[in-house]
């Protein structure tokens, strides 16, 4: 069965989605990622979607699921590199992906995760939420 590779980079996991996912593959990714978070004790998950030309409600739901599940396992999820057209479409569709952190690129996403690890739990009310 096809799988999306998940890379471990220090305390974080990095997934780069290169192809438009069909639903089964996306569900596999959700499953694999959560297993990896558990196995590696990762503190953050970076999902790079810069190559994706479409994020529909199904994919949005998967991203939301990953963020929600990682969060209760004490790992934060950052979605990086969303294309402008995809962002505009998601807003129009009615999926603002609240609760998911975002960054312009992997580097900035990494920096965001690191800064959030330093500030710790008490500072959970940044503008990114809700």
């Amino acid at each position: 069965m096809e799988r999306i590779p998940i890379l471990k980079m220090g305390k974080f996991l990095l997934v780069t989605i290169q192809v438009d996912l069909y639903d089964r593959l996306a569900l596999n990714l959700e499953e694999d990622l959560i297993q990896m978070v558990f196995k590696t004790g990762a503190k953050g998950v970076l999902i790079d979607i810069s190559a994706l030309s479409i994020v529909d409600s199904f994919m949005g739901k998967i991203i939301g699921n990953i963020a929600g599940m990682s969060s209760i396992m004490d790992a934060e999820t950052v979605v990086v590199g969303m294309q402008p057209a995809v962002a505009i479409t998601l807003i129009e569709l009615g999926l603002p992906l609240s609760g998911v952190h975002t960054a312009l690129n992997v580097e900035k996403g990494m920096a965001l995760l690191e800064s959030r690890m330093i500030t710790g739990q008490e500072d959970d009310t940044t503008a990114d939420d809700d």
Binding site: I54, A85, V86, L93
Partner: protein, 139 residues
């Protein structure tokens, strides 16, 4: 003044998940051919994805018809999704955000409607559902 009309009218079967990607790509290709901008293209293929998936999950698969439409100076793409599934009992309710009877977010129908210029739905319980959407090149 008016660009040469391209006559495209074709049917695509949507019976399994992989067909979804295939038909998304085809819609994107045709949209690009008529010169639709990237944002409108993305909106159209996202709507396509929502409706095709709905058809797959709730209608047991069906047919998508792809047509290039011109009306006066406007040029656009019309897609018709037709299934012979169980139909929708309460169409008004199905058009509300967040209403779902299955495993989806319930954003499909109302979301798709917001992404296109024209949207119409007809459903007869027991007979099937037909959803027609239209997206203009520049709007």
């Amino acid at each position: 003044m008016t660009p040469p009309l391209m006559m495209i009218k074709e049917n695509m079967a949507i019976q399994q998940e992989r067909d979804l990607i295939f038909c998304r790509n085809r819609v994107k290709e045709v949209a690009g051919k008529i010169g639709m901008g990237l944002v409108n293209q993305t909106k159209l293929i996202t709507a396509t994805s929502e409706l095709a998936r709905n058809m797959l999950i709730y209608g047991g698969g069906g047919i998508m018809r792809l047509e290039i439409i011109t009306r006066g100076k406007l040029e656009g793409i019309q897609l018709t999704f037709e299934d012979k599934g169980p139909g929708i009992a309460d169409v008004d309710k199905a058009m509300q955000d967040g209403f779902t009877t299955g495993r989806t977010l319930g954003m499909g129908l109302p979301g798709a409607k917001r992404l296109v210029n024209e949207f119409s739905i007809q459903s007869t319980p027991g007979k099937g559902t037909t959803v027609k959407i239209l997206k203009w090149k520049n709007g």
